[in-house]
């Protein structure tokens, strides 16, 4: 559905990044929805901890500055 967002109420969406080795770049592994950073960390760890990541980080999706997106000229 176009424009569908999982976010409702006070919750915001966070992107989850991780890497398996120091030589790897961080890459996007998924997202979580939470009302604050603490809960987002707990959710990210619970949801994406099946791999042996050496680093995991989250960022609020609305803090990501988009230059262009699919479908835009």
């Amino acid at each position: 559905m176009t424009g569908y967002k999982r976010v409702s109420g006070d919750a915001v969406e966070y992107e989850v990044f991780a890497r398996k080795a120091r030589v790897d770049p961080l890459h996007l592994v998924g997202s979580v929805v939470a009302p604050d950073d603490d809960l987002a960390m707990a959710y990210a760890r619970a949801t994406y901890d099946e791999e042996r990541w050496c680093e995991m980080a989250i960022v609020r999706k609305d803090n990501v500055i988009s230059l262009w997106q699919p479908g835009e000229p």
Partner: protein, 242 residues
């Protein structure tokens, strides 16, 4: 009561906490909270296994055979006797009781007993995320009754001011006694414990609780593997009986 008795109490409580968390893996308020409940349940069940494994190296395993037949021999808090019916009960257990167990584990890791120093350290890393989860949900506001009950049971579980926990602290085996444990819990949660009057004369020093009771029959049967037998094919049941 010995250090082994205390470790068994942590193990039994973490086992029950893990099971009660897991019961909410499809009932929490969001998909993320469902996954967190499942993950924290697995963590705590794993922690209980590690803690049971510490009993032998500690020298005296206090587990008697009657644990197999009498649920009242398990050393879990009354808070875990019955499945939780409200999300507030989950949050109060997550924020207050899970953190109380973590504070006690910190006390073991910083104490003088080598096997506990080494084997329990990793738990503290995993527990950081349980704490963040519990504190965040707690701040969003929950019913007062489970919160008060969880605080009371945490303070009871730390033990009386002049009991064995205090003695173990005095001997250096634990880095914190009851007063320090309570202070650390308050510091972690950034809130003061409510005033509670504890009748220490009625307190059971092995089960570390002031009220009788035991876990529900279904959960006890599941722990013993009896629930699994209900679903075994008839031939397997016949073989098991012979």
């Amino acid at each position: 009561m010995s250090l082994s008795d205390l470790v068994l109490s942590i193990a039994d409580n973490k086992q029950m906490l893990g099971l009660r968390y897991a019961e909410w893996a499809t009932r929490a308020p969001s998909l993320e909270a469902d996954i967190a409940a499942a993950a924290m349940g697995l963590d705590d069940l794993g922690h209980s296994r590690v803690l049971y494994g510490c009993l032998e190296p500690l020298g005296a395993d206090p587990r008697a055979p009657d644990r197999e037949s009498d649920p009242a021999k398990l050393r879990n808090l009354a808070y875990f006797d019955e499945p939780w019916t409200e999300w507030s009960q989950f949050v109060a257990a997550n924020a207050i009781l899970d953190t109380a167990f973590t504070v006690m584990i910190e006390s073991c890791v910083s104490g003088s007993v080598e096997v506990l120093q080494h084997r329990l350290r990793k738990m503290l890393l995993e527990e950081r995320y349980h704490f963040l989860h519990g504190r965040s949900w707690l701040r969003s506001g929950i019913d007062d009754a489970p919160l008060q009950l969880a605080w009371r049971e945490a303070i009871e579980w730390f033990g009386p001011p002049d009991g064995e926990t205090a003695s173990l602290h005095g001997e250096g085996k634990l880095a914190m006694g009851p007063a320090e444990l309570r202070g650390r819990l308050e510091e972690q949660l950034e809130m003061k414990a409510p005033r509670v009057e504890i009748q220490w004369k009625a307190w059971d020093p092995l089960r570390r609780r002031g009220t009788p009771g035991a876990i529900d029959a279904h959960t006890f049967g599941m722990l013993r593997g009896l629930e699994e037998k209900k679903y075994a094919p008839p031939t397997a049941a016949k073989q098991a009986a012979s």
